[in-house]
């Protein structure tokens, strides 16, 4: 088999867990990008004829106490939650990676300080700090992003630092130094591409975690604010009607689980994939 054909065939030999995860994530993206195409109803439309209606042909996921279609609301909420997945991770990713890269390469005092800072931040429970910061700044998604940034960069920094230390030992870095390349070039053109693999994998899994975080905060009223449809908010909406209308909390909950599962599977699958194929 000629090399191009072989490569193509290999590209399609994706292991099952990764395929499932990718399918879920693709579905979520679809919901986020084109909710109107998928949702049968307007998420904000009240329908007094369908108050607290259980799941049925008209409303597959049932309706809430205002007659709004849960399915539609869940689909529209995907947009917010995917946004959370992205925005709550990008900041820590960029900041943490940068700091970790510098610390790992330069060593010395900077690295020492970074290490102590990481230790300090890690002594506090993540969720507690985030809630505390949001409580101070006020509820809302933007404040949540800020809070996550302030604390979350540490995980990326630690990971990137470890990878940088590893790569730094290898002879291709020494060769770059002997060839007279500047530290900036060595860091960004040589070390970073080789250290990126575990960061990317961690990032995908982190997105799953941030969706959970966003939903938790939404549930507590500290994240997205009603009437914005966000899965955590939807669950909060339904908590007072739990015994009468379990579907109000159930289906958004399933969505959260699916999202978390999808991203985790992709993360794990990527780890295996990137290892083997280089």
């Amino acid at each position: 088999m000629t090399p191009p054909a072989r490569g193509l065939r290999r590209a399609f030999a994706i292991p099952a867990p990764l395929a499932i995860g990718a399918a879920i994530v693709l579905l979520l993206l679809l919901c986020a990008l084109a909710p109107g195409a998928l949702a049968p109803y307007d998420p904000l439309a009240f329908d007094y004829n369908a108050l607290l209606q259980p799941p049925g042909p008209a409303h597959p996921f049932g309706a809430d106490n205002f007659g709004r279609d849960i399915l539609s609301r869940t689909i529209y909420a995907t947009r917010i939650d995917i946004q959370i997945a992205l925005f709550a991770t990008l900041g820590p990713l960029v900041i943490g990676s940068f700091v970790g890269l510098l610390a790992g390469y330069s060593g010395g005092l900077f690295d020492l300080l970074l290490g102590r800072t990481i230790d300090l931040v890690l002594t506090f429970p993540f969720l507690v700090i985030v809630i505390a910061i949001v409580a101070v700044l006020g509820p809302g998604l933007v404040n949540m992003y800020i809070a996550v940034c302030v604390v979350g960069w540490v995980f990326y920094a630690r990971l990137m630092r470890a990878e940088t230390l590893l790569q730094k030992q290898l002879d291709y870095v020494a060769a770059a130094r002997v060839l007279g390349y500047s530290p900036a070039r060595i860091l960004f053109r040589h070390i970073l591409p080789n250290a990126a693999r575990p960061i990317v994998v961690y990032w995908v899994t982190d997105m799953a975690l941030k969706i959970l975080l966003g939903s938790s905060l939404g549930y507590l009223g500290l994240g997205a604010q009603p009437p914005t449809a966000e899965w955590g908010v939807l669950i909060a909406d339904g908590k007072n009607f739990f015994t009468q209308a379990w579907w109000m909390t159930f289906f958004p909950g399933v969505a959260i689980v699916m999202a978390g599962l999808g991203f985790s599977l992709v993360g794990d699958g990527l780890a295996d994939l990137m290892d083997v194929r280089r």
């Binding site: 291709y172 060769a175 130094r177 002997v178 060839l179 007279g180 390349y181 040589h190 080789n194 280089r278």
Partner: protein, 334 residues
């Protein structure tokens, strides 16, 4: 000895130590950090176009020496000179010139190439950073360099992992040659390769030297290779040079007891050599705790009191070549 003025590369009194790290507790208890003296007062010269072989076993400091020569480590004491000029701070243009003049080939062909860059990008980068070629010229020059190491043009598009060990080593050599060095420091460049492939790379070094007039400092533990390839050989033990002289003569009649033992230990392709006493008794001491006086005395058949107290200087004692031994003599060579 070569007068310093003519030497391509010279080292004078190089000393280098590594200090271990201490934990906070160690600092609190006042425990000193462990100090590993990798190089002690190492001096030598290499003439232009010459091949100097450096041999030694674990802890002798040859790799540290290689790294100091190319600037990967800063020496604690001593000077390195390139064509008579001391490389002091080596900043700016002086540094750039030295970087280009003295290049290195590493031991592990896997680790010494960036796995994510294609061969062409890798070599092209060296050309671009040092402004030796621009634009379309780069590809042409890369092809020339690949031809110099007997690799086809098509190699430029591929990544290191698609090549064999010997080919990767050639790519590393091409990269080093891209900046037009006059001096190559090769740190065990053949150790990771099979015997039949080693021969290919040895021939490449010989050819490049003849063609480009390169000076070569060849570091290895393989005595057969160093004997074949070098004009002169320096033998190192625990951070010092113990003997340095012309390759053939040194091998025929080594003066230092360690050199004698080393050569006697090296397996030769002579079936069933007579088994007898160990060529060199005892263990190689750790560089963290070297013996006082002459570092070799615990294992030396000629050791006397003076050896335990005074480290012998590296000097020519019997009109042959510098030897660091109070009792240097060609007798006792196996």
């Amino acid at each position: 000895m070569i007068p310093a003025a003519e030497a391509e590369l010279s080292a004078a009194g190089l000393s280098k130590s590594f200090v271990g790290s201490r934990s906070l507790i160690d600092m609190a208890l006042g425990r000193p950090a462990s100090r590993l003296q990798a190089l002690r007062d190492v001096s030598f010269e290499v003439a232009r176009g010459e091949t100097l072989g450096i041999v030694g076993e674990s802890g002798c400091g040859k790799s540290t020496l290689a790294r100091c020569l190319v600037g990967l480590h800063e020496v604690d004491r001593g000077e390195i000179r390139y064509r008579g000029q001391t490389l002091g701070e080596r900043k700016g243009s002086a540094r750039s010139r030295y970087d280009r003049a003295v290049q290195m080939v590493f031991q592990d062909p896997n680790g010494s190439l960036n796995p994510r860059m294609s061969v062409g990008e890798c070599i092209g980068e060296a050309l671009a950073v040092h402004k030796l070629a621009k634009g379309a010229q780069i590809a042409r020059r890369v092809a020339e360099l690949l031809a110099l190491v007997n690799l086809p043009d098509s190699a430029a598009l591929r990544r290191p992992h698609e090549f064999s060990g010997g080919q990767r080593q050639r790519i590393a050599i091409a990269r080093a040659l891209a900046v037009e060095p006059s001096c190559l420091i090769a740190d065990e460049p053949l150790s990771a390769l099979d015997v039949s492939v080693q021969a290919q790379i040895v021939n490449l070094f010989l050819e490049l030297q003849a063609r480009l007039g390169l000076t070569l400092v060849f570091i290895t533990h393989d005595l057969r290779l160093v004997h074949h390839l070098s004009h002169r050989i320096a033998v190192m033990y625990l951070g010092r040079i113990v003997e340095i002289g012309p390759a053939q003569a040194l091998f025929a009649a080594p003066r230092h007891p360690y050199t004698q033992g080393l050569i006697a230990s090296a397996p030769r392709m002579e079936p069933k050599r007579v088994a007898g006493r160990d060529a060199v008794a005892g263990e190689i001491p750790s560089p963290l705790a070297p013996p006082p006086g002459c570092a070799f005395h615990p294992r030396c058949p000629r050791a006397a009191d003076i050896c335990r107290q005074v480290a012998p200087a590296l000097e020519t004692r019997d009109g042959s070549w510098p030897v660091a031994c109070h009792f240097a003599s060609a007798e006792g060579a196996v």
